[in-house]
Amino acid sequence: MTNKEAALVLADGTVFEGEAIGVAVPDGISTGEVVFNTVMTGYQEVMTDPSYAGQIITFTYPHIGNYGVNDVDYESRRAFCRGIIVRDPARRTSNHRATGDLSDFLEAQGLAGIAGLDTRRLTRHIRDLGAMPGAFGTADEAALLAAAKAEPGTDGIDLVATVTCDEPYTIESDGPRRIVAMDFGIKTSILNQLRELGSVEVVPAQTTADEIMAREPDGVFLSNGPGDPEPLTHIRDTISSLLGEVPIFGICLGHQLLSATLGADTYKLPFGHHGGNHPVQRLRDGLVEITSQNHNYAVSEDSLVDAELTHINLNDGTVQGIRSTTAPAFSVQYHPEAGPGPHDSRYLFADFEQLMEDFHATS
């Protein structure tokens, strides 16, 4: 790793000094929306989660790279985030699963990062003022500030188009069912869970309802993905046509899109939820799940139509899960597939299986 001096400049002009890591990008500037994630393990999964498209990830845990990277823990085919901010990247990797180190990974992904800065100060800044655009790199501060200010952020932008697959593909399984997964930036951990239930046909985000139904799915899965659900009207139209026709399960962006299709409003959280320790209460029996979270937008509880609230975040009371009262469809805001994070909520995949079974039995 290089020791070249670098800086992070936020759109509000706040400057953080550090050192450049990863690849040297043209003109020495990387831009994106700066968010923070509080997981202490799972950096490889986080960096390769397509939901971070358009964002620069700040890791609040200082040591990143300790156990290297491996061929298994990828959450997608590549990193879609715009860069990483790390207090102290590991020089030496130690884990029997490792096939490379953080430095190799950044090079291979063409990703730049900045290290050595006061990530806690940055985190508190974002916590207090909200996630905001920023620019980092070896360019001078004025150039970085200009770039940060020019960065559009994520509101109203269709980031899904930048991460969804180009062509449909199928993941075969011994399971009896056929699931069509709409890919808004789907994570490998989700595919791994779904394939336990049946074969998974992953289709691009722009796939129409007719095309989906033509595949004769037992269930449709709405995946996670980056950014603002608001501009994704074409996807809402698709979901609207699917509702009632086929059981639907959504996660994260998929949850926001399902809720919005049912008529709910979405809004942007001040700095989002990005971590592996958020308590979510399952309202049906009061049990608490420790969950993996990664979202900047949320569904407004007051606006829920034709849907019941099933899960809430105990930290701030935000909506974490809903179930349609008119159609066989449910969704959660958080990540039951983990990757990274706790496995407390994996029962939701079984719930999806049950929903498909019940639907099949009654139709």
Binding site: F16, M40, H63, N66, T119, R124, R127, G276, N277, V288
Partner: protein, 1093 residues
């Protein structure tokens, strides 16, 4: 679901005296639990024999029983108080074992007491290794291949199946005592038979050895609704093979992928469910194969533990507090997170720093021990440090230990291994000892690469590489040189954890010059907050650590502020008593509307609970670290005299105008032998003749004047470190050389004009007396207590039993003692506490020394008399007058009408190779108190509480030094009256018979090299169970002096051993009273006529 309304009163059992493996972490957890239960409106009944704890303050429970912890006493307490429930999980293994005994004996059922927080089945499943393993296999978890043996025969069959090497662990044993690794058949025979003997049920577990695997712990909480969270994950720097209490450990886990950590988390939850821990905290230990990643469950503790105290301090998640709430019916989501206030406790803390815990050992106190670490815990204390990175945290932790090391390297100590060849150094680093961490650094510094060090030591390469960063930074700083340091370079050095003192050493300059230059470069520490959430939420609780970043989160208030310096890691001579004093100071000053700022680095303590003071700085107690906090906080006073020697040593270099209480000049005056002697002479207070020396010649000159025996001790140490009584020139020369040359004292600076050796005439057969007193700014002095020691002068006061009120001193003598104390306090211009030690010979009172600071006996005195000395002292130091405090009700007359005996608890069972002999060097780890209507009863209770329950019949073996023969004969006569038979060595038998005592058998002597005379000898009789108590006072004080074998045999047979005639007489008197009086228990509140506030 809210709290249970069907319960009204709850019994909490504490952990008893501080012993190795069970220290003040249980005072921390017990204090938290008592607070919560009372806050929730329950009547709390507490049983604990340890008077030095905060939890036994009459304020923390409705009824506090400072009584021996055994089931007879506990049943008496239960019968008297009729509690509805017993909470067994907060008093360590002691409370858990006693609770199981109460269940098994049917006592809980008989009195209708419900066990809450854990049930019998769960405890048995977790504690019985075979059941635990079967349970794990049943739920599909991987465990070590093993077998259980109750005899050597079965043991041999099992090992034939598993193959060597194996680990052998006795069942039902705390802190891994008696555990060992066997690599050869011979070792196996020895370790296995020792293990069977050590286990209370004569059972051992034999397991495949996983020496060198990576070791992890998860701290888990579970509520009755089956919500579970991991509070903290911990990775050991030392691989498997070293007890986790003796390992350097780090939070959070560093070298596991999320996939592996989540697998471990799932396993921990499965363990909790299967074992059946319905509510509360537990810790689950795992071993991970470094090459295959195979995870095996090692063990679990179904209770709050040392690790959970560490986890609480490491994350800010108060495990004991939450466990107490869960036990009374709450679920995790109903309990708020104290720190964020906004979010619930049903979450998993995430941290944005690295925590390192490093144990501290006391091998120097136990000559003959090897100092090699293993699966049996041997450390006596620990320091914890918080840094943003591991290198920073490690270096802070190492300097927190107060071993004279400033960090990992860059100090005079770093040269310690220069003489060793690479091979020898690497070989040394392969053996786990307290020095290993520095040996690893030395390997790396001389260029042995990380892979080679890993291959040899199995210390994970990530940790080694992080240490290498420190080593490389050291080289870079040497290269740059002081003159070329830029602000960026300064910051980088500090971020690697280098103290100014290390840089000063590196550049051969003074620490103050380094400090000035650094400050001039604008590089100042920043204080971050421990907030459980990685800054995701705003934190309310001011719990801080220093690091070197952009911004500080501390916003000093404009209130009147007092800073209290704590006592650092526990060690023999400086432990929980001083934490008690610091915590009391914080409470008292908080009540008086000061903002209190606590500085300490010991994770076991109440003082480092973020609830104790207005602000907590978890920092090393070094000059630099303390000065930095002073500059950040600007306190109006700093309390240095309540935390033992640690803060006192810092006092001279702190701004004098800020030192609260007695001035450092007065403290020095009392320590400086010349000035002190002059003062005593001027005041006409007699002292034993003596002088100071820095060389053997000077020492011999002094002896020429005063004669032998003489007491030789270094100045400025606590706990009688290296103190010795010498009887001849040989002994004197050896003692002087020991002090001058090397050893732990040498490392702390050796001898110099400032730190000479004190040599005093030793008064044989004198009675030692301690007096604690407080003097205020107006000159008024109150006497806290006059304490008479049971053992004669020469046994360290910390190891001697002592009694309030003095049983055999005349009122005139007590008057003289009080008068001298007042005059000395006045002459020294004391403002706060003073402890004066005296020797009384006949009717003559000699002053031995005065210490104008809190003494070890302060909490004992407070419990015995009801006078809160530490609170009063703290207020007095901040200029309150005793008269004002009398009006407030804080100063009140001592309560009389009962007798309290403090007895020391010694760790000899942990160090079988050390002679269990009392002397001027303190070696006890803890203390207990016996309180009752008479001296005899209180003494008997104190012996019972200390684990040496006196026998009711049988044979007592006597072997006495000449000086002890008269008092010994008196004791022997009493024992005969009580129906005991007396056996003795020839010389002692002659003396006893001459005094009219019947001796039933004469035993042969054992020579210094362990050879017995023909015929019966004491060691054989002890081993055969034919002797029930040993009274053996030593002749001569050398290691392996004759008698050592007898004392060792008594120690391993677990029979009471009294090493002075005085103690034998006290025991005889006590047993007389005990047989005449029915057992009774009485709460402290009842003795003191107080009610809990």
């Amino acid at each position: 679901m809210p709290r249970r309304d069907d319960l009204k009163s709850i019994l909490v059992i504490g952990s008893g005296p501080i012993v190795i493996g069970q220290a003040c972490e249980f005072d921390y957890s017990g204090t938290q639990a008592c607070r919560i239960l009372r806050e929730e409106g329950y009547r709390v009944i507490l049983a604990n024999s340890n008077p030095a704890t905060i939890m036994t303050d009459p304020d923390f429970a409705d009824a506090t029983y400072i009584e021996p912890l055994n089931i007879e006493i506990l049943e008496a307490i239960i019968a008297a108080e009729k509690p509805d429930a017993l909470l067994p999980t907060l008093g360590g293994q002691t409370a858990l074992n006693l609770s199981m005994e109460l269940v098994d004996a049917g006592i809980l059922d008989k009195h209708g007491v419900e066990l809450i927080g854990a049930d019998q089945e769960a405890i048995a499943t977790a504690e019985d290794r075979e059941r635990f393993k079967d349970a794990m296999v049943e739920v599909g978890l991987d465990v070590l291949r093993s077998g259980v043996a109750n005899s050597m025969e079965t043991a041999r069959t099992i090992v034939a199946d598993i193959g060597l090497p194996v680990v052998i662990r006795p069942a039902y044993i705390l802190g891994g005592k008696g555990t060992g690794i066997a690599e050869t058949a011979e070792e196996f025979e020895k370790v296995a038979s020792n293990g069977i003997a050590a286990s209370p049920i004569g059972e051992i577990l034999i397991e495949e050895s996983i020496y060198g695997w990576k070791e992890y712990e998860l701290e888990v909480m579970r509520d009755k609704a089956d919500n579970q969270v991991i509070v903290c994950s911990i990775e050991n720097v030392d691989p498997m093979g070293v007890h986790t209490g003796d390992s350097i450990t780090v939070a959070p886990v560093q070298t596991l992928t999320d996939v592996e950590l989540q697998e471990m988390r799932d396993s921990a939850f499965t363990v909790m469910r299967r074992v059946g821990v319905e509510t509360g905290g537990s810790n689950v230990q795992f071993a991970v194969h470094p090459e295959t990643g195979r995870q095996v469950v090692i063990e679990m503790n179904p209770r709050v533990s040392r690790s959970s105290a560490l986890a609480s301090k490491a994350t800010g998640f108060p495990i004991a507090k939450i466990a107490a709430r869960l036990a009374i019916g709450y679920t995790l989501d109903e309990i708020p997170n104290d720190i964020t206030k906004e979010t619930p406790a049903s979450f998993e803390p995430t941290i944005d720093y690295v925590v390192t815990k490093i144990p501290r050992w006391a091998f120097e106190k136990f000559p003959g021990t090897s100092g090699v670490l293993g699966t049996q815990m041997q450390s006596v204390g620990e320091a914890m440090a918080i840094g943003r990175t591991f290198p920073e945290s490690l270096q802070k932790g190492l300097r927190s230990l107060e071993l004279g090391r400033a960090g990992l390297n860059c100090d005079p100590g770093e040269a310690a291994y220069d003489e060793l060849s690479d091979d020898d150094l690497l070989a040394a680093a392969c053996i786990s000892t307290p020095e290993r961490i520095w040996q690893l650094e030395a390997c790396l510094r001389r260029g042995i690469d990380v892979d080679a060090v890993f291959a040899a030591t199995k210390v994970d390469p990530w940790f080694l590489d992080q240490m290498l960063r420190i080593t490389e930074e050291r080289a870079a700083l040497a290269e740059i040189g002081f003159d070329a340091m830029t602000p960026r370079a300064w910051k980088r050095a500090k971020q690697h954890g280098f103290a100014d003192a290390q840089l000063a050493y590196l550049w051969s300059m003074s620490e103050s010059d380094v400090r000035s230059a650094r400050i001039a470069a604008g590089v100042l520490p920043t204080y971050k907050t421990v907030d459980t959430c990685g800054a995701e939420f705003d934190a309310e609780t001011p719990y801080h650590y220093s690091t070197w970043e952009d911004t500080s989160e501390v916003r000093p208030s404009d209130r009147r502020k007092v800073m209290i310096l704590g006592s650092g890691p526990n060690r023999i001579g400086q432990g929980i008593e001083f934490d008690y004093c610091c915590v009391h100071a914080s409470f008292a000053l908080g009540d008086a509307d000061f903002e209190t700022i606590m500085v300490n680095c010991n994770p076991e303590t109440v003082s480092t609970d973020y609830d104790t003071s207005d602000r907590l700085y978890f920092e090393p107690l070094t000059h630099e670290d303390v000065m930095n906090i002073i500059e950040a906080e600007q306190p109006e006073g700093i309390i240095v005299s309540l935390g033992g020697q640690t803060p006192l040593k810092l006092a001279n270099d702190l701004p004098p105008e800020l030192i609260a209480g007695t001035s450092p000049v007065s403290i020095d005056l009392a320590e400086d032998r010349e000035q002190w002697n002059a003062m005593c002479a001027r005041m006409e207070i007699p002292q034993p003749a003596g002088g100071t020396a820095t060389t053997v010649e000077q020492a011999l000159d002094i002896i020429g004047r005063i004669g032998y025996p003489a007491l030789v001790r270094p100045s400025y140490v606590l706990g009688g470190r290296a103190m010795e009584i010498v009887y001849d020139d040989g002994g004197l020369t050896a003692a002087m050389e020991q002090l001058a040359s090397f050893g732990s004292l040498g490392r702390e600076g050796g001898l110099s004009a400032e730190r000479p050796v004190l040599i005093d005439r030793f008064l044989e057969d004198a009675t030692e007396v301690d007096v604690d007193a407080i003097r205020d700014v107006t000159g008024e002095v109150i006497i806290g207590a006059v304490m008479q020691h049971v053992e004669e002068a020469g046994v360290h006061s910390g190891d001697s039993a002592c009694i309030i009120p003095p049983p055999t001193l005349s009122p005139e003598t007590i008057g003289v003692l009080e008068e001298y104390t007042r005059r000395i306090a006045t002459e020294l211009e004391v403002k706060g506490l003073i402890n004066v030690q005296y020797a009384v010979k006949g009717n003559q009172v000699f002053v031995i020394e005065a210490n104008p600071r809190a003494s070890r006996t302060v909490p004992f005195v407070a419990k015995a008399t009801g006078v809160p000395l530490a609170k009063i002292a703290a207020r007095v130091m901040m200029n309150a007058t005793l008269e004002e405090l009398r009006v407030e009700g804080l100063v009140r007359p001592p309560v009389t009408g009962h007798v309290a005996v403090k007895e020391a608890v010694l760790p000899f069972n942990r160090f079988p190779d050390a002679d269990p002999l009392l002397g001027p060097e303190m070696r006890s780890t803890g203390e207990v108190m016996g309180i009752d209507a008479s001296t005899g009863l209180a003494f008997t209770k104190s012996q019972m509480a200390a684990g040496g329950t006196l026998p009711e019949s049988g044979a007592i073996f006597f072997s006495l030094a000449d000086r002890d023969k008269a008092v010994g004969a008196e004791a022997a006569a009493r024992f005969v009256d009580l129906g005991f038979t007396i056996v003795a060595t020839a010389g002692t038998a002659d003396a006893l018979e001459a005094a009219g005592v019947t001796v039933t058998e004469r035993l042969g002597k054992i020579s210094a090299d362990g050879v017995a005379e023909p015929g019966a000898n004491a060691v054989d009789l002890i081993e055969d169970g034919r002797i029930q108590m040993v009274v053996n006072s030593p002749r001569g004080r050398g290691p392996r002096a004759d008698g050592a074998y007898i004392r060792a045999a008594a120690g391993s047979a677990g029979i009471p051993l009294l090493t002075t005639g005085a103690a034998a007489l006290a025991a005889a008197n006590g047993m007389t009273d005990w047989l005449d009086t029915p057992l009774s228990v009485r709460s402290l509140q009842s003795y003191l006529g107080t009610t809990a506030s």
